[in-house]
Each structure stands twice: as structure tokens, then as C-alpha cells.
């Protein structure tokens, strides 16, 4: 360590910033306090500062839950650092609590010694009572273990925006920007991008834009000049080592939308995206609706069934039908998905999974629709199931979904979840011409045509679209004859067709990459097998334990069905297998059934992502378990 490094590590009080490798900040407030927006802006500023990051927007199901209540608390968490960031973080280093309810809900996850920023202006007797406090936590010693910055943010904000003549209500709505300015200073973030954003967002209300910018600047100035608690001098987090390229922040929803658009271009197809509003899937409809000039027509249907019906109709007509929903909506689409796989039409079904069953926890994340995706239809009804591991991964998985759906004339279910859909991460914008095209060929040749003619390699049937002279044909959900495509009730034919449909889907396994090991060695003592959005915490936990000398490996499955062709042999090479999932044990059952291996589940069904520490603890316990 150089002398300069040492000096930087021991800053002179009040002058130099403390160097951190990473930090977890959580913004918590009332649903109406603009915490998601605050988090988005902090994310942007942090990305621009060159840190790696991961975020976790955590908000209530109610749009405006009663003000001041604990169930109305809306939070946004960000983990950022000078090293590779794998999760949104376990415990917080800094908590911003805009009201007593936010403090009540979030304080238990703030590290002892962590920085607590509270708006004392909101700690009124009424708000304290609503939050469930008998005494004021600011004065009763219950927050003594934290380093607290208690400021009347409400009053400060009102003062800062006074020149703009806003109503009391509008003026108070600027307090999130005041707070953001304060936290920007703490972590050395630049304000410029947020100022620009405010000017654009409130282009038609410059007074609101100016007031917010004034609040932002006032908060920033306050942090710079105020007497902060001893030991707090602001922080510096060096830029992370990041692969060169052009970056932006991206949510899973954006990456998925753009992946679909690019996949269609590679396939040479237009598409219809038909969807019905449901949390947390609706943003995909919104993003695509804004990008209809790029080849996707969007259609808000009257219900989930109409959405999938329209999508399948579009596929029948020779474009690609895409629909999107969350678990309850996917359940409604089940019968129609069966038709698509029986009529052998391409279709993409995006499931942004949420807590269930039934309405469950609409805004909370879960991975509990794997059974539904793989098995959730009447009869023998196999289709392809893919899963995305992160927001950025959604881009590639979406392209793969388009490729498989059109090449194999099959529905593809793409599993994401509420966490992936909403969380933002920095993303190296890909070079679009690096993806190989997979142009779809429509049947036009009349000679020898029938609608269920198959490619002998892929077993995919021909795609002949209406408008093509001479290829007029009828298809539907009734079983059809293998040789002619006509309706057939023949028993042997039904047996054969069921086998063909299964073999076609099984055959996809030969057309996708073999399962890779993310980190660790094949044949390690313990294989940790995950899928979907648990990638980050599993990877970091396994990495930490490998560094400590444990024989652990991480496998992350994208191809849920059919499973990768080498997965069985990989699994059989491990002494033990642990499957962490945000459900009550679904992939683990699938693996046990497919490979007769003694895989064990680690299940968290709390509507919250895994913490790294939780997985580490479970891995160690599994390694030590006496057989």
C-alpha cells in the first residue's frame, strides 16, 4: 500500500472521503414519496460514476396505500462498488427513512454502525402511531446502534423551493430530490444527469423542474456544509473494472423487449405482442407499445385468453405471436397454449413470475411457476421453457426464444420474474451484427403440400401462411393424421402424434449449448444448481466459498425444458447437489425425476431475493451434513 493509499484510507476528518469497496443504500419512504424515482436516478448517477451495481425495487401492491402505514412503505435498494456486483446486497450500509413507517420496516436490515438518514419532519405523533411506535425511536435509544443523520428534510425542502411559489403539497413533493442531493454528496455522485432528466420530464412545467433542481442542489449543499456525525466524511468508491464498451442501465423489461425486436429482425418476421395488464408484467407491453416502429404491433386485449388467442392468430397468419403475463394470467392462457402446441404454431409466452398462488404477492418476486411452465397444461403437452438469469440476460434469452419458436414451430415459455423485470443493471450495449440471422422460410411450394409435413431433422412442421395461393388448409385442436394433416381419431395415429410432439421438443436439446459450469470444477463435492434470478447470490456465495477452499461448483440452468443434454452427467459427478430456489422446491423435483439424483432444495419463499449469506450458510450445512 502506498503512502497516498494509506492517507486516503485514514482521511482527515471533514476533508477527505472514506474509500469503500462497495456500499448498499436503501431508500425507503411512503408510496407517494417517490422512492422508486429516487432510486432510478441514484442508479443512473452511480452507473455514470463507473461503479458496477445491482438494484432491487421493492414496492407495495397498492398504488397509494394509506399514507404513513407500514404496508405503504416503498423501497429501492442499490448495491454498488469498485468490484463486480452480483446482488442488490444483503444488509444496508446506508438507510434513508423518509417517515417512521419506513424506519420501522427497514431498520432491522441496517448494519450496526450503518448510516441512518431520517426526515425528522415526518416523525409526528400521528405518523409514529401509524407506524406502530409507542415512543419516538429517534429519542428512546432504539437507533443508538446506528450513526444517525436526523434532519427536518420537509422543512429544508420547503425553504429551498420557496422562490418557485408552489403549493405546499407540490413543494413537499420535492423532498425526495432534496434527499437525493444529500446522498449524492455522501457518495460523490454527479448531479448533472438528474438535472437534465428533470428538465426533460417537466418540460411543460419549468417551475416544477426548477423547484426540484433547487431541492436537489440544496440537499447536496447541506451535506457538503453540515456537521455530519463523527466518522462520516462522505465516501469514495472507485470505478469497477469493467469490460470496455458503451454502457447504459437496463431493466429486464427493456432488455427483453429489445431482444424480442432483434430476434424478429434475425428471423425476418414482424410480430404481434398481445397482452393484458397484470403486475409485474405490464411494463413489457408499455415498452413495446412505445417501439411499434420496430416491427412489433402491440395489442391490449380484453383478457388474458384473448391476448394469447390474438397472438396465436397472428402466428397462424404468418407473423410471430407473443404474449406476456404473470402466473395467474398464464394459467388462463393454458388451453390456448395447448392449441398452439397441438397446431404446432410458433408462440412466445413471457411469464414475469410473482409470489403466488392465486393473487399471492403481486409485486414480490418468486420462481414458483416452473411446474406451470413445464407441466401446466392438460394432456401430454410439451413445449420449450427458457429462463433469464438477469436483466441483461433477457436480451439474449429473448433472441433464443424467437429462434426456437420459429425453427421448431412451438410455443416457448420464457420465465423471468418480478425482480428481473424491474431491477436495473449496467449493460454493455451489444453489437447487433454479432448475432447470426435465422431467417424463417414460409412454405410456398404446392406440390406434395399438407399442413403437417415435417422437417425430418427438426420434426418442425411447415409454416404456410394465409395469402399463399394453392396452400389453403385447415388446422385446429383436433388430432390430425400424421400423413395428411386431416382430422383423425385413429388410436395408433394419436399415439404416434403424441410421441412426435414430444420428440420434437426433446430434439431442441441437441440444438442448444451444453450446460456449462459457471464457477468451480466438475466433480466437486457439492454442485449448486440454480436457475433464473438467483444467479447473483448463488454465484457470489459459491465464489466466496471456493476462495475459502471448499469444493463447490455453480451451475445455472437456462434451458428448463428440454434440459441440457449433458446436465445429467454433470450432476452425477457431484457428491451432493443443492438447488436454491425462490419457491418450495420445483427445479429440484424436476432434476430428481429426470436424473434420479439426490438433489436437495434450499427454499426461500419470502417474496425477496436470496441473500449471499443465506446461500453460504446452506452450502456449508450441506457440505457438513452426515449422510
Amino acid at each position: 500500500m502506498t503512502l497516498i493509499d494509506k492517507i486516503l484510507q485514514n482521511p482527515v476528518p471533514g476533508s477527505a472521503r472514506e474509500e469503500l469497496e462497495s456500499a448498499v443504500v436503501r431508500f425507503a419512504g411512503d408510496s407517494g414519496d417517490g422512492m422508486q424515482l429516487t432510486g432510478d436516478q441514484f442508479t443512473l448517477a452511480t452507473a455514470i460514476a463507473g461503479n458496477d451495481l445491482a438494484t432491487f425495487p421493492d414496492y407495495p401492491a397498492e398504488i397509494r396505500a394509506p399514507a404513513g402505514t407500514t404496508f405503504g412503505v416503498s423501497s429501492f435498494q442499490i448495491n454498488f462498488g469498485a468490484r463486480r456486483i452480483m446482488t442488490s446486497g444483503d444488509q444496508f450500509d446506508t438507510l434513508v427513512a423518509m417517515n417512521p413507517a419506513a424506519l420501522y420496516v427497514e431498520a432491522s436490515n441496517l448494519k450496526p454502525g450503518g448510516l441512518l438518514i431520517v426526515d425528522t419532519g415526518s416523525f409526528t405523533e400521528r405518523n409514529l402511531r401509524k407506524a406502530g411506535y409507542d415512543t419516538n425511536p429517534l429519542h428512546d435509544g432504539s437507533i443508538d446502534k446506528f450513526r444517525t443523520i436526523a434532519i427536518d428534510i420537509s422543512a429544508m425542502t420547503l425553504e429551498a423551493v420557496k422562490p418557485f411559489g408552489l403549493s405546499q403539497k407540490d413543494a413537499l413533493r420535492c423532498k425526495n430530490l432534496w434527499t437525493l442531493g444529500f446522498v449524492y454528496w455522501l457518495f460523490g455522485r454527479q448531479r448533472h444527469a438528474t438535472q437534465q432528466w428533470l428538465k426533460t420530464k417537466f418540460a411543460k412545467r419549468p417551475d416544477i423542474a426548477d423547484a426540484n433542481i433547487a431541492a436537489l442542489n440544496a440537499g447536496h449543499a447541506m451535506a457538503e456544509t453540515a456537521e455530519l456525525p463523527s466518522g462520516v466524511h462522505g465516501y469514495h468508491i472507485a470505478p469497477a473494472e469493467i469490460v470496455p464498451g458503451t454502457y447504459r442501465t437496463v431493466t429486464g423489461t427493456q432488455a427483453l423487449a429489445w431482444g424480442l425486436i432483434h430476434g424478429l429482425k434475425l428471423a425476418g418476421l414482424d410480430a404481434l405482442f398481445a397482452s393484458y395488464p397484470i403486475t409485474p408484467a405490464s411494463p413489457l407491453l408499455h415498452v413495446l407499445a412505445q417501439n411499434q416502429h420496430l416491427g412489433i404491433t402491440t395489442f391490449q386485449a380484453e383478457d388474458e385468453i384473448a391476448a394469447v388467442g390474438a397472438a396465436i392468430g397472428a402466428s397462424f397468419a404468418g407473423t410471430l405471436g407473443i404474449t406476456s403475463s404473470s402466473g395467474p394470467g398464464i394459467a388462463l392462457k393454458g388451453e390456448a397454449i395447448g392449441l398452439a402446441l397441438s397446431a404446432e404454431l410458433p408462440l412466445i409466452i413471457v411469464n414475469s413470475q410473482r409470489g403466488g398462488p392465486s393473487t399471492g404477492l403481486p409485486t414480490k418476486t418468486e420462481q414458483s411457476d416452473l411446474y406451470q411452465a413445464v407441466y401446466g397444461r392438460n394432456a401430454d403437452a410439451p413445449l420449450c421453457v427458457l429462463s433469464a438469469r438477469s436483466a441483461a440476460d433477457c436480451f439474449d434469452v429473448a433472441i433464443e426464444a424467437v429462434r426456437i419458436a420459429t425453427k421448431y414451430m412451438t410455443p416457448v415459455i420464457l420465465l423471468t420474474d418480478g425482480y428481473i423485470a424491474n431491477a436495473a443493471e449496467p449493460w454493455r450495449i451489444p453489437e447487433l451484427d454479432q448475432y447470426a440471422p435465422f431467417a424463417v422460410e414460409f412454405r410456398t411450394e404446392k406440390a406434395g403440400f399438407h399442413p403437417f409435413l415435417r422437417n425430418p431433422e427438426t420434426l418442425a412442421r411447415v409454416w404456410a401462411k394465409p395469402g399463399t395461393p394453392g396452400l389453403e388448409h385447415r388446422i385446429g385442436g383436433i388430432e390430425r393424421n400424421f400423413d395428411t394433416g386431416h382430422i383423425s381419431y385413429d388410436p395408433d395415429n394419436h399415439h404416434k402424434m403424441t410421441k412426435i410432439r414430444a420428440a420434437k421438443i426433446d430434439g431442441i436439446a441437441a440444438d442448444v449449448p451444453e450446460q456449462a459450469i459457471e464457477i468451480g470444477q466438475a466433480g466437486a463435492r457439492l454442485g449448486v444448481v440454480g436457475w433464473g434470478s438467483t444467479y447473483g447470490p448463488i454465484n457470489r456465495a459459491v465464489d466466496n466459498l471456493i476462495r475459502r477452499g471448499h469444493g463447490v461448483a455453480h451451475i445455472h440452468v437456462r434451458n428448463i425444458w428440454p434440459l441440457p443434454r449433458n446436465l445429467g452427467s454433470l450432476l452425477k459427478g457431484f457428491d451432493r447437489i443443492l438447488v436454491p430456489e425462490m419457491n418450495n422446491g420445483q427445479l429440484v423435483t424436476l432434476l430428481r425425476a429426470q436424473y434420479l439424483v439426490d438433489a436437495r432444495g434450499l427454499n426461500k419463499i419470502a417474496g425477496q431475493p436470496f441473500k449471499i449469506a443465506e446461500i453460504e450458510t446452506a452450502i456449508l450445512a450441506e457440505l457438513e451434513r452426515t449422510p
Partner: protein, 341 residues
Amino acid sequence: MNEASPPVKRTAKDYATDQEVRWCPGCGDYAILRAMLKTLADIEADPANTVFVSGIGCAARLPYYVETYGFHTIHGRAPTFATGIKLANPALDVWVVGGDGDMLSIGGNHLLHVLRRNINLQILLFNNEIYGLTKGQASPTSRIGTRSPSTPMGSVDGPISACQFALGAGARFVARGIDTQQKNLPEVFKRAHAHKGTSFVEIFQNCIVYNDGVFDNFTAKAVADDHQIHCEHGQPLLFGADNKKGLRLNPARLEIEAVEIGDDGPEAAGILIHDETNLALAQRLAAMDQPLLPVAIGVLYCNPARSFDDGVAAVRDEAKKRGRGDLKATMHAGHTWTVDA
């Protein structure tokens, strides 16, 4: 995108497939199919550009028997598939076929929405007031007291009027036909086809096995003249043998009443002139019920408005105008930053 088939004069027979028709002998569906095939020949439909879409039920088998493109889908949802087909390729000529259970029970919601959207396609509802394919249960159009395997003591739920439903949903074209009227039915189909927007046609169809003769009260030869009225735009609303009866508005009750026409003729009797662009009149005609009033047949309402297809095309144009470049430009829009090597 759609190559036209070479122009050939096809006969009704040319539009039939080689598939064996599997309806019960004597079913009204045969007659409707015959009228349909004749219609296709008369309008010189291009088979390559024509699509029949159906749900589930006896009526829904019709696409298998028409030599065009066809999609036999799932129960009640045919309008949704048809919507997707039209969104994907507005140039296709789409006919949606279903029964009263398919379209008014399990698929009632989709019928409502396809009508209010005014998508440019034709909907044919074969109404036989019974579930045929599932062996004879009461349907949403069955009259109160209908005895069936599921209602052995007689049904207790009131029936829905298909045409009143359609008008209520905002349909811009509503017509009625009767399966056996081989002269009128193709004409109604042709009018439906010519209308741009969603065209809704209810066809009274006799189910010979489970509900035989349910429409005899106005379709039987002996009573047809007195119990049907054929509506023609611009013509007085007359019915009965020698057109000696007509419809008049009772302004005090805002009701239609049937009156005998005296020697001074329809005008003197205050007989209404059919105006198919008049929604209020269409609603009164659709509501006319036996035995007090005749059943209205023909085009009850035709009042075109902007179709969904045109709306979607306008949105597409607007999107192209607003769109800021290609995908690459979109991904690079907003805040980006560069990490150097």
C-alpha cells in the same frame, strides 16, 4: 404480400373441401354451409385470401368444409384468434363462425369486444338455442322452461337476444337470417361481407336432434308470413300475407306495434320506413318477440364507422413518425457511458 390467385370463375362446389361433412342428417348447418358456398362463389372470393375461424361446437366444424384457409380453435375464443389474424394481415378476408353457446356463453366477452372494436371481419352466429355437440343442454339463448338433460325441470334463466347484445356492444352491422331461406341468406352474407367493420349475423338454425322445431312458431311455412318481417332499407316495414300488416311506432310508449293496413295504404297507416342507419329503430326491431310481434329478418342495422383496422394502421403510421431510428438508436438513446480499454 398476398399474391392474388389467378382469376377463375368458381362455382359454389369449388369452395367445398373433399372432407366428409359430419353433421347430423337434416341439420340446419348443411343449409347454412350451402348458402355460404354460394356466397363465396357470388363474391368471387379468393380462397388463398379467405380465412374461416371457429371455436368449438357443431357450427365450429364449418371451416373444415370450406376450401379456404381455416382455423378451428378453442371454445368461445374464435374472435380473439380472428383479431390476431387481422392484426397480422389486414388484407385477409376473415369469417368467424360459432354457435350460441360458443359466442354468447363461454365466449360472450370476446364477442362483446370484437364488436366494440369494429374489426373488419364477419361473424356468423348459428343460433339453435341449445348445446348440440355436448348432447343437448340448455344454452344462453334457450327460452325459459327449456327441458334438457341439465334442466330436467325446465330452465329458469332468461335467454339473451343475440342481436340486442350485438347492438348493445356497439356493432355497426347487425343482420338476421334463417337456415332454410336459401334465397335470402346468401344476400345477408353478401351484405355482411360488403360492410367494412365487424358484421354480425345471427342465423336461426334448427337442431334436428336436440331442439327440433324450436323456431317453428315463426319459420314454419304456415305461419312464416304472419310471424316474420323482412327488413329492407328504405322500404315500409310490412309483413303478413299480401303485406297487409305493418309496424308502427307508438310514440307514447316508445314501442313498436303491429297494425293492419287499411285500404289507404301503409303511409296513411303510419307504417315505419326501414332505415338501417337508425340505431333506435334497429334496437326496437331486434327486440321484437313472439307472439305479439313478428321476428325481424334481414339487415337490421348498417351504419359504418371507422374500423379497428384503420385505427391500427393510423397508430402504425404515427409510431413510424414518432419512432426515433432503429433498435440500435433506441438502445443508445438516453444516458450511456463509455468504458475505455
